[in-house]
Amino acid sequence: MSAIEADKTVCEGIGMCEAQADDYFQVGDDGLVDVLTDEVPDPDRGYVKAAIDSCPVSALRLLG
């Protein structure tokens, strides 16, 4: 199990994360990322990691 950490002060609302893993990320009404489920079970780790890596301003991190 890993956890997602989002830094809203860095997020630009570009939405790459949502485009790749919309069950984990959504750009909210404030235009910034909301993490919908912050615990990531191991089978999902790979594709969540890919979504995190695709953030152009590195606002997201996977812990553990």
Partner: protein, 386 residues
Amino acid sequence: MSSPHHRHLLVVGAGLAGIRAVEGARAAGWAGPVTVVGDEPHAPYDRPPLSKAVLSAEEPPAVPALRSSEVLETLQVRHLSGVRAVALDTERRTVTTTAGELGYDALVVATGSAATTLPELAGVRGVHVLRSYDDALAVREALTRSQEVVIVGAGFIGSEIASAARARGIDVTLVEAGGRPLERAVGTGAAARLMQLHTDAGVRLLTATTVSGIRSTDLGVDKVELSSGETLAADAVVLGIGARPATAWLRDSGVALDPRTGGVLCDSRLATSAPAVWSAGDIACVDGVRSEHWTAAGEQGRVAGANAAGAAEAFASVPFAWSTWHGHRIQVVGETTAADEEDHGDGFVLYRREGSAVGALGIDSPGPVARLRRALNAQLAGAGAS
């Protein structure tokens, strides 16, 4: 004939579109070897931070890698760095590079664009453009040594450099040939708001002005002469006057280029006029439109790679770009040209055509921009489905 598992995918250009093409191809089931050729010496990296964090951070940051080495490893991609493609033979299916000839079964061309320069300023020390990581380090170096800089071009990149320079307390003159900054892209009202951000931050903005000459000493730039007759002292000059698709290597290849912009002509599936050749990113002119923004380059790259691997996806996306000027978050979504501007105050400008909202510019208004973007995306998905 090679078996599907030995077919070779070649990607020329190791930028965002190139790396996303590899990911798109793998996701669509491409099992054969994949090679990415890039002329830069670095691991594939991301450009937006170059005119932002790289210029403003205390210490020069490391190259902003696009993907971790683990991700590149799982993609099983061979990256040839420092290798330049010089010619393409679409009949023999080979690309000639500075490191020899490479064959392909499928090819994605994603060589991006090269910053436009002013020929009369070529070779003058202290005159910079900003396209690559190495350029960014040089501009950063120049800023740390300058008291007065002249930035030519008040588009996104010129404006971001102006912000970074002001944040360092440098005297900045921004010289713009057109009327208000980005006026052609966003219209007069929105451009006036953008202009205000510069003047509030203490940038001297000269519009309808061009550089007519430069005086330099052995140490580099000394004075900049303007079309207005004014002469400015400058320690450095940075040009942000646009970019041209890097397509010189495709001349005589049989891949049709747009005579107007020099971009690679391709259809909505990103297929070019040549068999087994796709194109993506800043270089691509998709159904007549060339977008030079990050989100389009990434998505086009993914679609081109998937289609090279046998998928039949069409590229469709709501344009989206962002920028940061003097600490203000600027976002542009959808269509912002040939439309009526409607200023909603609070930094939100909505664009309408025949009454319907087609785009927006937001200054520190991520909320309304996000809502419109979602609505436009939903419309696009609906149009695609019907």
